[in-house]
C-alpha cells in the first residue's frame, strides 16, 4: 500500500499527542498529590457519589431502553397512524441539549430537582439513541419468523422475548451503553437539577477546594467508570449486525382499539422529551421579552457561532487528515492513532476541561485562557465524531476511480485532490457542519476554558440559571435549540435513515 501523505501523519500524530497530554497530566498531578487523592477517594462522600452515579446511570439506561424500545416497536411494527410523525417525535429530544430540557422543567416546577428529576430528564434525552438503534434493527428482524413463533404456540409477549429480543439485543445493548456513557459524562442537566453525581461533585470540588487534587482524583474515578463502559461498548459495537435488508412486506400488527391509547403514550413521551420543556422555554422567552438584552443575545450568538466555526474547521482538518491516513492507507500505526483518538469520545467534557485548566495554567501558560486552549478541548472531544463522520464519505469513494485516475497518468496527490476529495466533499461538508453544531451545544469545557470575557449562548444560559433567572436564560436556550439542535437533527445520518425506512416499510 502507498505511503500516506506526510502531512496527514504529522497532523494525526499531533492530534493524538494533544489528546493524551492533558489526561496524562491529570494522572501525573494525582501521583504528586497522592495523599490528598487517597484521602479524597476514601471519603464516605466518594462512595455516596459512586452510589448516586451508578443509580442514575442504571435507572436512566433501563428507562431509556424501555421507552426507546416501546417507541421503536410501535412506530416500526404496528399500524400506528402517522408512524413517520412519531419517528420524528421520538428523535426530537436529540435537538435539545439536556441542560435545556432541565431548564425547561425546573422553570415550570420549582421543586423539580434531585434524583427523580435527573432521571426523567436524562431518560427522555437519551431514549432517542435507543429508539434509533432498535428501530433500525427491528426493521431488519424477519416478521415471518415471529409469526412462526406464534404458530408454534407462543404468545406475542413470549415471541417478543424469545425471538425478537435476541435479534435486537445487540443493538439495544450498544445503545444502552451509549446512554450510560452519556449519563456518566453529563454535567449541565445534573448540576442544574442538583443531584450529586461525580460530574457535579467534580465541578464543586474544582470550584471549592484550593487543592484541586480532589477534583482530579474524582475525575480519575469517573474516567475509570467511563473506560469500563467503553470497553463493554466496544465488545458490542458492530458485532452480529443483521444484514438482512428491511422487510419488503408491509406487515404490521393491528392496534385496533389500542390505537388511541398507544397514540397517547407516544405523544406523552414526546411531551415529556420535548413539548413540555420547550413550551416552557418559549413561554419564558415571551414573558421576559420586554427585558431581554438583545445585544447580549446577539453577541453570545455570534461568539458561539464564531467559536464553533473555528472549532469545526480545526476538527475537520485533523479529522480529514486522519481519515485519509486510516481509510485510504490503512497502516497499522494509523489504526493505532485512530483507536487512541476514538477512545476519547467517551471522555467526559468536564474532565477534559479540568485537565486542560491544570495543563494550561502550569504547562502552557501562553495559551492559557486563550481561545486555543478551548480549541484543544474541542479537538479532543469532537475529533472522534469528526473522524467517524469523515471516514464514511471517504470510504464510499469507489476504489476503481482512484485506479482509473492513476492509470490516466494523474499523480496520487492529484488523484486525491481532483477525484477522491471532490467526490467525498458533500459528505465531508455535512460532517464539518455536524461538528460545528455539536460544538455550539457544548457546556462544561466551554465553561471552564472560555477566554476571559467571551460568553457563549450555553455559558450565558448557564449563569442565568445559577440565579434561577428563567426569563433571562430562556432566550439563550431557545436560540441554541434553533440554530444548533434542530439543524443537527436534520443532518444526523442515522436519524434520516430511520425516517426514510419508517416511511418506506
Amino acid at each position: 500500500m502507498r505511503k500516506p501523505p506526510v502531512l496527514t501523519v504529522v497532523l494525526g500524530v499531533f492530534a493524538a499527542l494533544l489528546a493524551i497530554a492533558p489526561l496524562g497530566y491529570l494522572v501525573l498531578r494525582l501521583l504528586e498529590g497522592f495523599e490528598v487523592a487517597a484521602t479524597e477517594l476514601s471519603r464516605p462522600r466518594t462512595f455516596e457519589l459512586l452510589g448516586n452515579t451508578v443509580l442514575l446511570v442504571v435507572s436512566v439506561s433501563l428507562t431509556a431502553l424501555v421507552v426507546g424500545v416501546v417507541q421503536a416497536w410501535f412506530v416500526v411494527r404496528t399500524n400506528l397512524n402517522y408512524p413517520g410523525f412519531y419517528a420524528v417525535v421520538a428523535t426530537v429530544p436529540l435537538a435539545i441539549p439536556s441542560y435545556v430540557l432541565a431548564l425547561g422543567y425546573s422553570s415550570i416546577f420549582p421543586w423539580f430537582s434531585g434524583f427523580w428529576a435527573s432521571w426523567l430528564v436524562l431518560s427522555m434525552a437519551t431514549a432517542p439513541y435507543v429508539f434509533l438503534a432498535v428501530s433500525a434493527s427491528l426493521l431488519r428482524v424477519d416478521i415471518a419468523a415471529e409469526e412462526v413463533g406464534r404458530s408454534l404456540g407462543y404468545s406475542r409477549l413470549q415471541v417478543f422475548l424469545k425471538i425478537t429480543w435476541p435479534q435486537i439485543r445487540t443493538s439495544a445493548t450498544a445503545a444502552v451503553l451509549l446512554v450510560a456513557l452519556y449519563v456518566l459524562s453529563e454535567f449541565g442537566a445534573i448540576a442544574l437539577l442538583r443531584f450529586d453525581t461525580f460530574t457535579r461533585a467534580i465541578y464543586n470540588a474544582y470550584r471549592s477546594s484550593f487543592d484541586r487534587t480532589a477534583a482530579a482524583s474524582l475525575a480519575i474515578v469517573l474516567v475509570g467508570l467511563t473506560l469500563t463502559i467503553l470497553l463493554l461498548e466496544r465488545r458490542y459495537r458492530g458485532d452480529y449486525l443483521l444484514q438482512r435488508p428491511a422487510n419488503s412486506r408491509r406487515l404490521r400488527q393491528e392496534l385496533g382499539r389500542m390505537q388511541t391509547p398507544v397514540t397517547l403514550l407516544l405523544a406523552l413521551f414526546g411531551l415529556l422529551g420535548a413539548g413540555l420543556p420547550m413550551a416552557a422555554i418559549i413561554n419564558w422567552t415571551l414573558v421576559g421579552s420586554s427585558s431581554t438584552d438583545f445585544g447580549n443575545l446577539l453577541v453570545a450568538t455570534l461568539t458561539s457561532v464564531g467559536i464553533a466555526t473555528l472549532a469545526a474547521a480545526l476538527v475537520s482538518i485533523f479529522a480529514l487528515a486522519v481519515a485519509i491516513w486510516v481509510v485510504l492507507h490503512k497502516t497499522r500505526f494509523g489504526g493505532f492513532i485512530e483507536g487512541l483518538l476514538w477512545s476519547n469520545h467517551a471522555l467526559p467534557a468536564l474532565v477534559v476541561g479540568l485537565a486542560l485548566v491544570f495543563f494550561g495554567a502550569n504547562v502552557t501558560p501562553w495559551i492559557y485562557q486563550s481561545i486555543w486552549l478551548l480549541m484543544i478541548a474541542y479537538l479532543i472531544l469532537f475529533l472522534p465524531n469528526g473522524l467517524a463522520a469523515m471516514s464514511t464519505p471517504l470510504a464510499q469513494v469507489p476504489k476503481g476511480l482512484t485506479e482509473v485516475s492513476q492509470s490516466l497518468g494523474e499523480s496520487y496527490r492529484k488523484t486525491l485532490s481532483k477525484v477522491i476529495l471532490p467526490i467525498a466533499s458533500p459528505g465531508l461538508i455535512a460532517a464539518s457542519a455536524l461538528v460545528m453544531l455539536t460544538v455550539l451545544k457544548e457546556l462544561p469545557a466551554t465553561l471552564l476554558l472560555r477566554p476571559t470575557g467571551a460568553e457563549t449562548l450555553a455559558t450565558r444560559m448557564w449563569s442565568a440559571t445559577e440565579e434561577l433567572a428563567y426569563a433571562q436564560a430562556a432566550p439563550f436556550a431557545l436560540v441554541l435549540v434553533i440554530i444548533a439542535g434542530l439543524p443537527a437533527l436534520a443532518l444526523n445520518a442515522s436519524v434520516r435513515k430511520t425516517y426514510s425506512e419508517v416511511n418506506d416499510a
Partner: protein, 329 residues
C-alpha cells in the same frame, strides 16, 4: 488538497503564536470578579466610558477564582481580583499573590474593613440575613444555629459554593469551634436545599420552594427593586444580637500585577461614583466616609453582628474542607 494543508499549517502556527501575547503588563487588563455579573458589569461599563480602559472580566465564584489564582500561580493572567468576601482575598493574600496596596487607597476606609497587611481592602459592605416567607415562618429563629433543628428539614435555602456562605462558616468555625460548625453543616445537609447563588435563594423563597434562606442582605433589595417591595412574598430579618448569622463582611479587591491600570481601577472602585453605585444600584453599604447607605438600611456599625476580624476569614481552605466533609459540596 495543498491549500487545505496550507490552511491546517496556518491554523497550527496561529495556535502557537496567539499564546505569545504576555498577559501581565502591556496586554489585556484582566479582572477576576467573584461577584454576580448583573451587579458588576454596569460598573465596568461605566469605568470604560470614563477612562476608555478596556477591562477583560472573568466572572465566577470567589472561592473558585481564588483556587484558580492559586493554581495559576505566577502564570495568572489576572491583574485584579474582586471577591465577594474577605475570605477569598485573604486566602490569595496568604499564598503571597497579592501586592500591598498604597496607603492613600487603604486610608480611604475604616481599618476594620481591610487587610492588616494592606494586601486587600473592602469596597462595599454587606451583612448576612435570614430571608423568610412570613406566611410559612411565624416564629423567627433566634440564632442561625437553630436552623439545625428537625423542624427545618428541607425548608432552608443555602448556597454552599458561594463565598458569602463560606465566609459565614469560617466565622462560625472560629467563634463556635469546628465541632459545632461541622454538626451544624451536617444538619444543613438534611435541612438545607442547595442553590448556587444568593439570588437563586431569593427566587426560591419568593416562589415557595423553600420557606427561608441564608443570604446577603442586598439580594433581597435587588429583588424588591425589580418587582416592587410591596409585591414581595418574603421578608428579611436579623438573628439575635451578636449571632454569627448576622456576620458583617465586605466585598473587596486586591491587586496581583504591576500593571498601572490595576491601581487606577481600584481607585475607581473607591471613588464616589462607584461607591454611590453600590449604594443605589446594589443596596450595599458604602465604605468611604462621606456616603450614607440607602435610607431604611441599618447603618453598618449598628448591625448586631458578632465581633469578628475579617482578616481571620483567610482560613477559607479549612472551611471548604469542613463543608466538603459535611457533604454539602
Amino acid at each position: 488538497m495543498k491549500r487545505l494543508f496550507a490552511a491546517a499549517l496556518a491554523a497550527v502556527s496561529v495556535l502557537g503564536l496567539a499564546g505569545c501575547a504576555p498577559s501581565d503588563t502591556d496586554g489585556d487588563f484582566v479582572v477576576y470578579v467573584g461577584r454576580s455579573e448583573t451587579l458588576i458589569q454596569p460598573l465596568i461599563d461605566q469605568y470604560f466610558a470614563e477612562t476608555g480602559v478596556e477591562v477583560q472580566v472573568r466572572y465566577a465564584g470567589s472561592a473558585e477564582l481564588a483556587a484558580q489564582i492559586l493554581e495559576e500561580g505566577d502564570n495568572s493572567p489576572a491583574d485584579v481580583f474582586m471577591a465577594q468576601d474577605a475570605g477569598a482575598l485573604g486566602a490569595v493574600s496568604k499564598a503571597g499573590y497579592l501586592r500591598e496596596l498604597d496607603a492613600d487607597l487603604l486610608n480611604l476606609i475604616d481599618p476594620e474593613y481591610r487587610a492588616a497587611d494592606g494586601t486587600w481592602m473592602g469596597v462595599s459592605g454587606r451583612v448576612r440575613v435570614l430571608i423568610y416567607n412570613p406566611e410559612r415562618v411565624t416564629e423567627l429563629p433566634s440564632s442561625v444555629l437553630d436552623l439545625a433543628g428537625p423542624e427545618w428539614k428541607g425548608r432552608v435555602g443555602i448556597a454552599p459554593t458561594n463565598a458569602s456562605f463560606q465566609a459565614f462558616v469560617t466565622a462560625l468555625r472560629l467563634i463556635e469551634g469546628d465541632d459545632v460548625a461541622l454538626e451544624w453543616l451536617e444538619a444543613m445537609k438534611e435541612n438545607g436545599v442547595l442553590y448556587e447563588k444568593n439570588s437563586a435563594i431569593v427566587e426560591a423563597v419568593e416562589s415557595g420552594q423553600v420557606d427561608a434562606g441564608l443570604i446577603n442582605h442586598y439580594y433581597w433589595y435587588a429583588k424588591g427593586n425589580e418587582v416592587g417591595f410591596e409585591n414581595l412574598n418574603s421578608e428579611i430579618a436579623a438573628f439575635e444580637s451578636q449571632d454569627v448569622g448576622n456576620l458583617r463582611n465586605v466585598a473587596g479587591v486586591g491587586i496581583l500585577s504591576e500593571d498601572s491600570r490595576a491601581k487606577a481601577f481600584v481607585e475607581f472602585l473607591l471613588s464616589e461614583t462607584a461607591q454611590q453605585y453600590f449604594v443605589t444600584e446594589t443596596s450595599e453599604y458604602p465604605l468611604i466616609e462621606d456616603l450614607d447607605p440607602l435610607p431604611g438600611l441599618t447603618p453598618l456599625d449598628e448591625i448586631p453582628a458578632p465581633e469578628f476580624d475579617l482578616n481571620d476569614l483567610e482560613a477559607l481552605e479549612e472551611t471548604l474542607q469542613l463543608i466538603r466533609a459535611a457533604g454539602l459540596i
